[in-house]
Amino acid sequence: MSFLLELRDNLRDFYSRYEVYLLPFLKFLLAFGIFFAINMNLGYMTKLNSVTIVLVAALLCSFLPMNLMVVLAGIFVLLHFYAISLECAIVGFALFLLMFLLYYRFAPKDTLVVVLLPIAFALKIPVLIPIIAGLLCAPASVVSVAFGVVTYYVINYMKINAAAISSLDVENVINKFRYIIDGLMGNKEMLIFVISFCATTIIVYVIRRLSVDHAWTIAMCVGAVSNAVILLLGDLTYNTEISIVSTIIGSIVAVLLAKIVQFFAFNVDYTRTEYVQFEDDEYYYYVKAIPKNSVTKSKKTVKKITSVL
């Protein structure tokens, strides 16, 4: 444990010392990963698939604000949708615009969740995002989580039905439009995931705020289990094709990853908890103080051996 704590402190030191270079580099990697994943999954506009364009876009994102990455990712998705059909692009654009107008105007920092959730879905660990949102964000981030699920299912729907949409009668644009909207609105799997992830985020948030020992660990475990249960119930009710085995494996992996996040964000020693009680003119205070885990760095001593000739 002390080795891990020392490693964490060293990583923190390293990050704070080289933040100027590391932050753009990490942003570049994230942007590259996101754009690459979009191209791999959609890839209908062949011009966008060139590595040069992805590299240039990722480089731009490395020194511009984080939200620009989200905007560029949205543009990438819309251009691929446009390559399928104009109607797909219109639906996608309307959806993204509604998300911006109704929510992201209030909470522009939450936009990253929408981008990360489809990636987590692709990696089969989608529950990681609601768990982390519950651990690190405010309860309002449920809206972001819900939008993230919707975004993933819109992309997924377009990907699966691209051939069918393109082959529909070009003359009858309204039928094409209806086909897309019906497909999206009638997606029960999306509805189940929205409900389950929103519930998971709230459950994790509420439990981790409780004044009980190991609140974070309990929160992520209960969150993962309740998510699996809601998905199972939803699957039984609506007869969708949610794979329960992959949900359970994904939940276990997500909890393990969330433990790593916890190690960096909230690492305390419950064995040394102290309860203090005092009062002032206006209040009685019942304070529970839990010390943070820390380790003193092992000092390197340099021994000089000089020999006198």
Partner: protein, 134 residues
């Protein structure tokens, strides 16, 4: 001579001005009513746009039915109900905006009060240093 206490205070204040203070200072430069008014106006504009988008999608989806029934419809009644939905939608959005931003405004003011207290402390330290110097 360098005062350690003053330097600590100045560093903390500089860090505040650089990070969260930047956001709060722009909010703090408004009167509450002006700030809330501006945010509610922005909300009305964005919710109007959102309503138009939803309405546009709805009409486009039911385009054929609309075209068939347009002469049979009581346009006045349709207009009234559309307006009613619009008012409810915008009012709900405006209310949420009002609650969220009034909370943010009071948080910003609270934070700025702490900053001004630090400013006063700094001025006091300067005074003491000046006296000692003279």
């Amino acid at each position: 001579m360098l005062s350690q206490e003053r330097i600590k205070l100045m560093t903390r204040m500089a860090a505040y001005e650089e990070n969260e203070g930047k956001k709060y200072m722009s909010i703090g430069s408004y009167f509450r009513s002006d700030y809330m008014g501006l945010q509610v106006i922005k909300s009305v504009i964005s919710s109007t746009l959102a309503y138009l988008i939803i309405l546009g999608l709805y009409i486009y989806y039911h385009f054929e039915t609309f075209m068939q029934d347009i002469y049979k419809m009581d346009l006045m009644q349709v207009g009234k109900s559309l307006l009613l939905y619009y008012v409810i939608f915008v009012a709900a959005n405006g209310l949420i905006t009002y609650i969220v931003y009034s909370f943010r405004y009071s948080r910003a003011k609270r934070s700025l009060r702490r900053y001004y207290r630090h400013l006063k402390q700094l001025a006091a330290i300067y005074d003491i240093e000046k006296k000692n110097h003279s």
